[in-house]
Symmetry: C2
Subunit: 274 residues, 2 copies
């Protein structure tokens, strides 16, 4: 299919932020590396060869940045740890800033990200995509920490509904955030996309203004809607969790829709006369 729509002002574009799962690769589930999406490895290479700044922004919370980036490198992507922004390091900054000591309901692969954090006598709960760790017992434990706090604080590493692995759809962290919100009659704070604070931390690292940056993702609400809320343009790819109904969503309209990352990068570079 042809690209549908496209953000104007190609000349003001100075940087690109890419979502990862569903844009670069399809997830392989527990233990599997997944597979690169056709054309994405070359598209990242082309962006890196251009004068545009490039960052990767993901709600991945099943592994540390190091493990996650190593997986992408095995798939063939030229990506380094310093270019990748997942929620956990952002959460660690929030914890230290606010003097919070977390009870962690996360995937065991993520635990090392919190090594430097005091977890004694917890005064908040952090949930990530804990997958199999979302047992009844573990959810009860997180619930009891919250219900016993005078001012319960729930930090959620994303608010996704579900994602697709090679063996089927899987429930995402947002579902369990809503469960604990209802159980404790509170509102969780999202760290990760679509939080503007999270996108802003990536823009700060790039040293760019929102209108100078384009976000490309497969999730209409978290990637495109979140970027737009922050003042960026947002383009959706028709890979990953994309659904045709996204193109007539009542609340969020992408600034452009393309078949895949390769097409998006061609559109970007053609408009800049590369």
């Amino acid at each position: 299919m042809a690209a549908t729509g496209w953000p104007g002002c190609a000349n003001s574009l100075k940087g690109v932020i890419l979502d990862m799962c569903g844009v670069l690769y399809d997830s392989g589930g527990e233990g599997g590396d997944g597979v690169a999406i056709s054309g994405s490895i070359g598209a990242v290479e082309k962006l890196k060869a251009s004068d545009l700044q490039l960052r990767f922004c993901t709600n991945e919370t099943q592994a540390t940045r190091e493990t996650f980036v190593a997986k992408l490198q095995r798939l063939g992507f030229d990506i380094s740890v310093s270019e990748v922004f997942p929620p956990a390091p952002a959460a660690v900054a929030v914890l230290k800033e606010r003097g919070l000591r977390p009870h962690l309901l996360v995937h065991e692969g993520l635990l090392p990200e919190f090594d430097s954090v005091d977890k004694n006598n917890p005064n908040c709960v952090i949930i990530g995509d804990a997958a199999e760790n979302f047992s009844y017992q573990n959810l009860n434990e997180a619930f009891r920490v919250l219900i016993d706090l005078e001012k319960p604080v729930l930090l959620s590493l994303g608010q996704g509904r579900y994602y697709k692995e090679t063996d089927g759809l899987k429930l995402d962290v947002g579902v369990y955030m809503k469960a604990l919100e209802y159980a404790c009659d509170l509102k969780g704070e999202v760290i990760g996309k679509p939080s503007s604070m999270f996108f802003q931390s990536v823009l700060n690292d790039m040293g760019l203004q929102p209108h100078e940056v384009l976000m490309i993702g497969d999730d209409l609400l978290s990637d495109v809607g979140g970027a737009q809320q922050c003042g960026m343009k947002g383009v959706q790819v028709r890979t990953g969790k994309y659904r045709p109904s996204d193109e007539r969503h009542p609340a969020v309209t992408a600034d452009g829709t393309v078949d895949n990352l390769a097409q998006a990068v061609d559109e970007i570079l053609n408009r800049r006369g590369h």
Copy 2:
């Protein structure tokens, strides 16, 4: 403490509906019978000796009516199966009426209640208090059934947030209903308290009008609020999941608050000149 407030019109009172867990007994958790709440066995006897009709209305969904009533009898209560109204039989009636074939996410103890129901090629999901069965895998399975349906139907056997067992607070079915609602962007239908349809089925069995019946429970929203919505009076006991903050709840005010069931029954019978 003294009783606080009391519904008027003692002479029009013809029946009483009692909640069970937290009013008659405190739950003992997996495998345990729990313990009778002091004075409750005698209070049930007094009501049975009066000219008032008596029914029991519970959101219990971890066991069949037969198993559940046998437990109450072991604790010393004079209760028979025909007097007890839990959500599962009401759900079976709804399934048959609407031609629905359920995927069940319930406690294994409840499964026999659905023996007569066609469960092939499911076109709805029923969740009860599945407890340990609320695993990530089981929740994913229920989610996939719903997300694949053109018109997904989620029936929830209650909407409680949590309950207390002797070893601590446990998450209740409502929390997982909210989780699936968010995952699938739908609204579940509650069968059980506080649904008016559910209370009405008990009133039908009694052959009484709502204003002739008093509901007594420990859950301000499900028991008292639900009964009031249905046109009954609702009295809260200060046992079970009662919290002092219930007495200044912004939305629901009980028609009376008493220390326990024994005090409630004395108030009822004294006012009738027994």
